[in-house]
Symmetry: C2
């Protein structure tokens, strides 16, 4: 059980982002205290860690929503979820190759300045 600030700290998302993710239905209904304050479970945290991973690798929010929705639909969507992650992973691989390539060009450019003096 984590207070909002703790969930934010552990997930790396801001409080506003956590509220936003709940509002758009990315995070399922988060528990509340009797006073209406959010209480995040370990399960919620698990989702947040996954979202952190997917966001950091460039998945759009709409696609994360799709994934979360599938998961809520039950076990029978496991194949589809796996396919979704798999095709994302392929895109990430391309992204890594591009990044490495352009990084190399950047280093080349820097060497040009180094040779200048």
């Amino acid at each position: 059980m984590y207070a909002p600030s703790e969930a934010a700290r552990r997930s790396g998302f801001s409080l506003d982002t956590l509220r936003y993710y709940e509002k758009i239905g990315l995070l399922g209904a988060v528990g509340r205290t009797s006073a209406g304050r959010r209480v995040f479970t370990d399960d919620d945290l698990g989702w947040l860690v996954l979202f952190r991973c997917l966001r950091d690798t460039g998945m759009p929010i709409a696609e994360m929503c799709r994934y979360a929705e599938l998961a809520r639909e039950g076990e029978h969507t496991a194949g589809e979820r796996r396919a979704l992650l798999e095709s994302h992973a392929v895109r990430v691989e391309e992204q890594m190759r591009l990044l490495q390539n352009q990084y190399d060009h950047l280093r080349e450019k820097i060497r040009f300045y180094e040779r200048l003096g």
Copy 2:
């Protein structure tokens, strides 16, 4: 000498983006035909290739503008330009590490689905 569409094709930027880059002063004044159509030189193309590299590695446009401005100021800004690229390269390295890490997590998650059947 390249027509706009050719410059777009070679740089990977859209026509609108090329116009936009000129408008905000990222690209210095691009030449025109007597009828007012843009003519891109090899030098322009060189800049576009650099911008492609910097954008692909996540540099914000404002920073590219800064770099371009320095270059226009002359030789004496070479040190500052180099420092700018160098600190960008460091950020890119961090970005690559993060991406690799999260990619590994993603692969782990996919393996979970694979074990499921």
